[in-house]
């Protein structure tokens, strides 16, 4: 035991004081910096969402002016997309667990890792600074469509600059993970001995690295147009607004998979652990991640079916959109098959995984309704789209994030959370979520356009239901957060492997020491999900 003593104090005890955190090179500490930052922004974004729902409780002007409402939905989108969802799972759980799951002590470039967090914080500050000067935060929607974004007097340039910086942060994380996975896997761990969460991160990272530069340039073009008036997108200056939409979605559609793939990776971990059996169709799930990442590059046009694209282009983008659904369906089947003849424990993380499957299915199937030409013409830019992407982003990724937080909570903090309260929180969240967003699907089918400050009276009953749903959802969030904070302080100590998991993070102490492994990790010859 003599060579282990250095390795047994947890990474919390290896340095004290704020500087030991904000300038740390330890992937686990950086992960926690990210966790507290993204969680804060998530709560800010959620509060903005609640405000929007309150304004929409009755038609007419209630709480705020139209312009304020428009700024709020823009800020809600910018925060949730760029400051929460995109970094969420990779930067928090990827940073913390990728090195451990592949049996190494850190990511390939710890300094770049720290830099990426700092860029994130700087980008976030830029985004929030729009509140403080001039005409206030951008009122364009998170899509910054030209030429409105060129004409409006609000602080679009600053918001766009923030997104640009955040893009760099995301590229650095992706780059780091790709190199880490290629170079630092435990000797003896081949590609197909790697758990599925690292696989999902690997596919995600390629999208981050390859697609993000495009949005970077595009956003700079908006600034150039606003500040020096060169005509790129505004026809009044000789530009083309449709060009902007192409460039924007060439990034932002693949970005949907930056948000979804890591969540699928999480679910692929939760289901085997709580079913106590090996994953069904390991290779099918791994390959389908790569297939999604690849096909996902070629479907951006489905955001533009009504923009006046040529008829042929619309047909091609529609077919491809349907095809990208197939690998997602394959994953769902394999997850469900993993339940077959398992020995299933319905612990809180498992509830999130099952809710993920249900909600992600609704998100995916409503995506097909949007991907079909005839129906999309009717539904484009309505609440149906808003409902659809919240099912994917929140019902999918958001739920996976919270599930992962419960799953790895004992490992991260060395404490158990309170199971009963966690389940109560889940119940509220699940109920509120579905009331809120399913109602939006119906509103959309009935022809309620999105980004509407006010609406025709016939839509009111459904808006009331949605708003009530938002209250239930928010209650759930509060219960969940309070429970986790209390458990971190007062929860009982967690063992190394509370759930009976088999991936490598369950072989290290809870919380892990600075170097992660206190003894040589044991790799099963039969692959990452060997439950025997």
């Amino acid at each position: 035991m003599s060579n282990e003593n250095n390795n047994t104090i947890s990474f919390y005890e290896t340095g004290k004081g704020i500087f030991s955190w904000i300038f740390t090179l330890d992937h686990k500490r950086i992960a926690l910096l990210y966790l507290y930052s993204v969680a804060t922004f998530f709560l800010v974004g959620a509060t903005l969402g609640i405000l929007m729902r309150l304004e929409l409780l009755s038609p007419g002007s209630d709480l705020m002016h139209a312009k304020t409402y428009n700024q709020i939905f823009t800020l809600h989108g910018v925060i949730m997309i760029f400051l929460f969802i995109i970094p969420s799972i990779p930067a928090v759980f990827g940073n913390f667990f990728l090195p451990i799951m592949i049996g190494t002590d850190d990511v390939a470039f710890p300094k770049l890792n720290l830099l990426s967090w700092w860029l994130y914080i700087i980008g976030a500050m830029f985004a929030l600074s729009t509140l403080l000067f001039g005409d206030g935060p951008a009122d364009t929607g998170w899509t910054f469509y030209a030429p409105y974004s060129v004409k409006t007097g609000t602080n679009v340039s600053m918001a766009v600059l923030a997104a640009f910086i955040l893009g760099f942060s995301s590229i650095l994380t992706g780059l780091n993970f790709i190199v880490t996975i290629h170079r630092l896997r435990l000797p003896g761990m081949g590609w197909f001995q790697m758990p599925l969460f690292p696989w999902a991160l690997y596919a995600t990272s390629w999208i981050q690295v390859l697609a993000t530069p495009i949005i970077g340039i595009t956003l700079l073009m908006i600034i150039a147009e606003r500040v020096i008036g060169i005509g790129l997108f505004d026809p009044a200056l000789g530009g083309d607004p449709i060009l902007y939409q192409h460039l924007f979605w060439i990034y932002s559609h693949p970005a949907v998979y930056i948000m979804a793939l890591p969540a699928m990776g999480i679910v692929s971990e939760l289901i085997p652990t709580f079913s106590h059996r090996t994953i069904f169709g390991y290779k099918a799930i791994a390959y389908s991640s790569m297939a999604i990442a690849f096909i996902g590059y070629f479907v951006w046009g489905h955001h533009m079916f009504t923009s006046g694209m040529s008829g042929d282009a619309r047909v091609i983008f529609s077919v491809l959109t349907f095809l990208v659904a197939v690998p997602s369906a394959i994953k769902v089947f394999n997850w469900v098959a993993t339940l077959y003849k398992g020995s299933i424990e319905l612990k809180t993380p498992m509830l999130y995984a099952l809710a993920f499957i249900f909600q992600f299915l609704i998100g995916g199937l409503t995506g097909l309704v949007n991907g079909a030409l005839a129906t999309d013409i009717h539904l484009h830019d309505t609440y149906f789209v808003v409902g659809h992407f919240h099912y994917v982003m929140f019902g999918g990724t958001g739920f996976a994030f919270i599930g992962a937080l419960h799953y790895w909570f004992p490992k991260i903090y060395g404490k158990m959370y309170n199971e009963k309260i966690a389940k109560t929180g889940f119940t509220f969240l699940f109920t509120g979520f579905n009331i809120l967003y399913f109602t939006m699907l119906i509103l959309g089918i009935k022809g309620m356009p999105r980004r509407y400050y006010d609406y025709l009276p016939e839509f009111q009953p459904l808006h009331v239901i949605a708003t009530v749903g938002s209250w239930i959802l928010f209650t759930g969030l509060i219960i969940i957060i309070v429970n986790l904070i209390r458990s971190k302080r007062k929860g009982p100590a967690a063992p190394r492997n509370p759930w009976g998991g088999v991936t490598l993070e369950w072989q290290v102490p809870s919380p892990p020491p600075l170097q992660n492994f206190d003894k040589k990790p044991i790799l099963s010859k039969k692959g990452p999900y060997d439950f025997k």
């Binding site: 364009t140 009044a236 079913s275 003849k341 020995s343 609704i362 097909l368 079909a372 013409i377």
Partner: protein
């Protein structure tokens, strides 16, 4: 669903039915199996899990079947959509203008209306033009929508098959009053339409008619209330504080100033109002029309 208010409704609603039908079966099926497994193979009932690693036959089945299903969905979506792009040669051609935040429809005889009045059972072709940013013309009851993109001449068409009033909404976010950018399609019998169409004498004073045609009134009120721009009530000869290139100064509203407001709205901006919202009307409004506007503004007292 399954009304017949436009020639597209049935095709679109059929694809809705097919896609939603398959989706619901799929969702219910998977969810049911999931819950069934969770109950049947719970830790209590099945303490020892079987380690099944996969099954290639199943993988192939659940790759091929969904592929076929999605292609079926795609096909119905395409078929429901195809007629929307097959714009007929002949039909009632209406030049449609979108601007922040109103619609105007210009008929072949020069008549301009803010509601879209059309004869029943006749193809109507809308030639879409935007005067500022992107808007989107959406008629939910007809299941159609097309973006109105500045600098681009998109087209859409439909046949109104049942008389009645239907909402027109703007579906592409376009600024403060986006949610008020509403209008109506009014589908009327042929005879009624002809009567409406030929009634071109307007009871409005000429200046007001010019302003209605150019949708000034979606931003400026006539009664003193604030919409987006300053009200026109009592504007003539008023003392106004304006910002010229950031500097504040006071002016009296006169011919020169109004002309400048219309042709170069960015030069002098009324204090307390946003810059860049009002576009330049250099190419849309003639000197003569400006004189008409001014004559009309003179008549508007507080």
């Amino acid at each position: 669903m399954f009304s017949n208010s436009s020639n597209f409704v049935q095709g679109v609603d059929l694809s809705f039915a097919v896609i939603l039908g398959i989706s619901v079966i799929f969702l219910v099926g998977v969810t049911f199996v999931m819950i069934w497994f969770v109950i049947k193979y719970s830790r209590k009932r099945n303490p020892k899990a079987s380690q099944i690693e996969g099954n290639n036959k199943l993988e192939i089945i659940w790759t091929v079947i969904p592929t076929i299903l999605v292609l079926i969905m795609f096909y119905y979506g395409w078929m429901g959509y195809k007629p929307m792009r097959e714009i007929p040669e002949n039909g009632l051609k209406i030049k449609t203008y979108a601007q922040m935040w109103s619609w105007s429809f210009e008929y072949p005889n020069g008549k301009v209306s803010d509601t879209l009045v059309v004869p029943v059972d006749e193809p109507v072709i809308l030639d879409l033009n935007s005067r500022d940013v992107i808007h989107s013309l959406y008629i939910p009851a007809f299941r159609i929508k097309e973006d109105v993109v500045p600098g681009k001449n998109n087209k859409m068409w439909f046949i109104g098959q049942e008389t009645g009033n239907y909402n027109i909404l703007c579906a592409e976010y376009c600024g403060d009053r986006h949610s008020y950018m509403l209008s109506k399609v009014v589908v009327v019998p042929e005879a009624e339409y002809t009567k409406w169409y030929n009634d071109t004498v307007s009871s409005d004073p000429p200046g007001l008619a010019v302003m209605k045609k150019n949708a000034c009134l979606s931003c400026h009120s006539l009664d003193g209330s604030r919409i987006v721009g300053p009200s026109f009530a009592g504007l003539w000869n008023k003392e106004e504080t304006i910002l010229s290139a950031g500097k504040e100064r006071k002016i009296i509203v006169d011919d020169e100033y109004i002309k400048k407001s219309l042709y170069n709205p960015g030069d002098d901006v009324v204090k307390g109002y946003p810059q860049g919202v009002m576009i330049s009307y250099k190419n849309n409004i003639t000197d003569k029309e400006i004189t008409m506007i001014i004559e009309y503004l003179k008549t508007l007292k507080h």
